[in-house]
Structure formats: C-alpha cells, structure tokens
C-alpha cells in the first residue's frame, strides 16, 4: 500500500533519514520504533508530504506521490496526526472534526450557503466524536479539553479525512496509562478499515497492536518483522531495546 524507496534527508551535515526503504501492507498495523533522534518524525513528515526528501521515492497505492503536496496526499487517503498536538484551538471539538469532514467532502469554494445548514457534515463529525469517545464534549473549545482528550481529537481529525492509511506520530505522547488504554482501544476499533503506520515509544502499546514492527536507528531501517521476531533480534536488542527496562522487552 505504501512503499518507500531509499528515502534520504539531510539537514546540513546531519543525516536524518539515510536511505529508508519500507513496505506497509494494506490492513496491517505497522509500528515504527526507534530511539530518540532516530529520524522517525522526519520520516513521517516525508511520507505525509510536508518535507521533500533529498532523494528516494514514496509510492502510495502504486502511485508515485513523492512530489505531491501535503493536502494532495490527504485527498487520496494518506492522513497524519501530529506528535505535538495541532488543533484549531478556538473551534469546538465538533467544529474541529466538521472542518476536516468539510475538507474531504468536496470543494470549499462555496461562499453563500451557511455551513450550519449542512447537517450531513455535522452528523458525520458527530459519529467520529462518538468513535473517539468525545461526543459529550463536542461543544467544548479544543484548547480547553484535557490533554488526553486533545490527543484523541488529534487522531479524530486524521480519521475525519477518511484515510486509507493513517500515520500516527506518537499518539500516546504525554498520556497516562489509563488514557493510553483509550487510544489503544480506538486503534483496535479502526484497524479493520484503516491501515495504520504507528510511531510510538510505548512498547506495551506497540507489541499489543502491531502486526509488524520496523526498527529505525540512525536514519536506517535495522529490521522489520513480526513482534516475536523483533523481540528476538539480537541487533535490535543491542541497538534499541537494550536501553529499555528488561520487563518491557519481555512484555
């Protein structure tokens, strides 16, 4: 579904991604893990289209989208969420999602008809709020939501674009264990219809959710495989998992 071929990005002398090749198969939850500074967020930005790679290609649904812009990729079903929460802070939760639905459903070059009359827009937004468990807070401004709720809304905005593949960049960042459970449950619910590329530090979540895991170290893919293979991989243990506490590796 998504194929990366030799993606490379340098910032001056710093190598952020160093020839990353990766396949994400339709229907899977593919986790991308790696130590801080491994280039995960840079890689997500290149896949999403907000950062042009120096070399290499991105294929989505067999089409070369390397030159396509961020919004063009969203249109064909490749959406992302942000590691640092990025919402329309003064909009209500419902308006946040409704805007994403609006962006997906046709042109916004409509100058006369009030959005408020487009009931199907808000019905769809409401159903997404139900799905992410925020419907009770639909009228609350995004800025006033609790951190965990903001993280859920962040994912909700990506889902509202009806992606075929969603890139979740550390969705559980800053969440407590209970809040993380809500997000894990959400990903379990959507995985039947959306392919997921998940960047996450929470190893518990990664090993519970992922069909396959890729390990990114110093801008290169060290290994890709099923969770047991990754857990058993000596190189991965040395480069990355070794830094984690023993019980987490065993989890």
């Amino acid at each position: 579904m998504l194929r990366l071929e030799g993606l490379a990005k340098h910032f001056g002398g710093v190598v952020a991604t160093d020839g990353v090749s990766l396949d994400v198969v339709q229907g899977e939850v593919h986790a991308l893990i790696g130590p801080n500074g491994a280039g995960k967020t840079t890689l997500i930005a290149q896949i999403a289209g907000s950062l042009p790679p120096d070399s290499g290609s991105v294929f989505f649904l067999e089409k070369d989208v390397t030159r396509a812009s961020l919004h063009e990729r969203v249109r064909i079903g490749l959406a992302r969420s942000y590691q640092i929460t990025s919402l329309f802070r003064r909009f209500s939760a419902l308006d946040n999602v409704a805007l994403a639905v609006q962006a997906r459903s046709g042109s916004s070059f409509s100058f006369w008809k009030p959005v408020a009359e487009e009931t199907q827009l808000f019905e769809e937004a409401s159903s997404i709020l139900h799905e992410i468990g925020l419907f009770e807070k639909k009228d609350q401004a995004a800025a006033t939501l609790a951190h965990g709720d903001q993280r859920l809304l962040e994912v909700g905005l990506a889902l509202a674009t009806r992606p075929k593949l969603v890139l979740l960049d550390e969705p559980m960042a800053g969440m407590g264990p209970e809040e993380s459970q809500r997000l894990i449950a959400l990903i379990e619910r959507i995985r039947a219809r959306v392919t997921v590329l998940l960047v996450e530090h929470d190893m518990d979540a990664v090993f519970r959710l992922a069909d396959r895991i890729s390990v990114l170290v110093s801008g290169r893919i060290l290994a890709t495989g099923r969770p047991p293979e990754i857990r058993a991989n000596a190189e991965v243990r040395r480069a990355y998992l070794g830094e984690m506490r023993g019980d987490e590796v065993a989890a």
Binding site: R89, L99, E118, L157
Partner: protein
C-alpha cells in the same frame, strides 16, 4: 432584530433630515465615512478573518479609484461600467500581489505587501496621461450622481450589501476554511485544504471590494490623486479595523466611523482651553487619534465591536 430595524430607519431618514435643515455637508461626510467603512470591511476580511496582515490595502483602493476615474475621464461615465471595472482592476492587482506575497509569512508578508503598494504609488505618480502627481479632476460623478442625497443612498446600499455578503461568506464553507487557516495553517493543510488557493481567493475578494470603495471615493470627491495609494492610507485602514474589531462583522464600519468622526471633531471644533495653551494643536490631530487608539488596544483588545458582545469570541 428590533435594534437593527431602528438602525436601518435612522440611516434612511438621516439624509432627509439633514436636507430639511439644509446641512448637506453631513450627508456628504456620512457618504465618505461609509465608503471608508467598505474599504475597512474589505481589509477586515483579509486581515481579521483570513489572518493576512496586509499593509498594502491602499493599493487596491487606489487601483479601483484610478480604474473608475479613467473610465469617466475617457467618457465612459456609467457606474454600471466603471464600478465593476474598478473591482476587476483591484481584483487583478490583488491576484498578482497576493500570488507573490502569500508565499511569505509573518513580518515578510507585511513588508512585501507594503513594498508592492509603494510600487503602485510611484506607478500612478508617473502616469502623466492621467494627472501624474497632481491627480485627476473628474468632470462629474459616475452615472451623474451629483445629488448628495442620492449618492448617500447608493453608498448606503453598497455598504449594507457588502456587510451582508461578508456575513454570508464568513459562515459559508469558504469562511470556515479561511478562519481555520488563520487558526492553524499547518493543520488546515493536513486535513486536506489547499491553503494557498483559499488564501489567495480571500485576498482577491478583499481586493475587489477595496476597489469598489476606491471607485466610490473617486466619484465622491470628483477627484483622485496618488495619495489614495500612499502607505499612510493602508495604515489608516488598518487602524480602523483594529479600532472597530479585528475579525468582527461590524469592525471595519465602526472603526471607520470612529476614526473619521474623531478626526473631524478634533479638526473642526477647537477646544477652547486647549487652544489657549497650544494655539496650533489642531495641526496635530494624529496625537489625539493615537491616544484613543492606545486606549482601545489596552482596554478593549477586541475592538469597539468587541465591547458589545463580550461573551462571544471573534469569529471562532
């Protein structure tokens, strides 16, 4: 609703009452205020709703003023021709300037729009065929709207049409899109909105209405000169928007009325005790205006329109 009808009646009766007491100066003055209200409202669309801090809005007022004036000077005196031409000329200018300027952000956007407006200022200064730096005196108003009361009603109608259009626009899909872009450009792009296209469209619409205001302004004074494009005019429009309320429907109109009203009061009605201390203080009305602006920014950051509905946030 009752308040609106009352307001409407006041606006409709005002010129007739003034005519009855034979004081057409204030009818003409009110027309001028409303023309600036249209210009400031158009800037508010770009600046307040679209988040594009354009410091070159006078260029679009000027483009409209000159396009309409040239039409009249060339004998095409119908407003039905001259005013749409003014809007088209200003929209074209906004499209050209916007297409370049909108590739920059923040202070750079402010500076580049200012730079373009200054280029336009010097361009019309050198248009010798149409008066150059001396300006262009028109033999008549568009469509011969010489009657002050008739002209007032025309301007009033256009102002309310503009406000109605703005009200519809900001609540439409397009309006939601540009407000969302103002709130969080990156996220807007990431939910699939082509940000540049919407911003440019917003900029062009704002430019077109500034051009219409320019056409009215030229007809009002039967005169146009390069000073309508001067950067201080852009600044004045910006002050109106800030005074009245950034991103508020009535912001531009209220700001225009307050600023021009204040300037008029300070210039034409000497304050006795102040004149005794500083005889020529009226040459420096800018100081008084500045103090009022300072007070507004400090004590009513939502503008004067914001004082009326404190509970609501600006266009969010």
């Amino acid at each position: 609703m009752k308040k609106n009808i009352f307001l409407m009646v006041v606006f409709l009766i005002f010129p007739l009452a003034m005519q009855a007491v034979d004081n057409l100066f204030y009818v003409s003055f009110a027309s001028r205020v409303m023309i600036y209200a249209i210009a400031a409202t158009s800037l508010n669309l770009a600046l307040g709703y679209g988040g594009m801090i354009s410091f070159g809005h006078a260029a679009f007022v000027g483009a409209g003023a000159y396009a309409a004036s040239i039409c009249i000077a060339e004998g095409l005196t119908s407003a039905w021709l001259g005013w749409p031409a003014a809007m088209a000329a200003a929209a074209l200018a906004a499209w050209l300037i916007g297409a370049v300027s909108l590739r920059t952000r923040g202070v750079y956007f402010i500076m580049i729009t200012l730079a373009f407006a200054q280029m336009a200022f010097y361009l019309v200064n050198s248009m010798k065929a149409y008066g150059g730096d001396e300006g262009l005196t028109l033999p008549q108003r568009a469509s011969n709207l010489g009657n002050e009361v008739a002209f007032y009603y025309v301007v009033l109608f256009i102002l309310f049409a503009t406000l109605l259009l703005l009200n519809r626009l900001v609540n439409s899909r397009f309006g939601r899109a540009i407000i969302a872009i103002r709130e969080n450009e990156t996220r807007a792009e990431a939910v699939g909105l082509p940000v540049f296209r919407y911003q440019l469209a917003c900029f062009v619409i704002a430019g077109a209405f500034a051009g219409l205001a320019g056409a009215l302004l030229a007809s009002h004074g039967k005169y146009v000169n390069p000073n309508v494009l001067h950067w201080s005019q852009s600044g004045e429009l910006m002050i109106m928007v800030i005074l009245g309320g950034v991103g508020r429907l009535w912001g531009g109109a209220i700001g225009a009325a307050v600023l021009l009203g204040l300037e008029h009061l300070l210039t034409d009605y000497p304050i006795g005790w102040l004149a005794r201390i500083a005889p020529n203080y009226q040459d420096h009305v800018g100081l008084g205006v500045g103090l009022v602006l300072l007070a507004i920014v400090l004590f009513a950051p939502q503008g004067i329109a914001g004082l009326f509905d404190r509970s609501k946030r600006a266009a969010a």
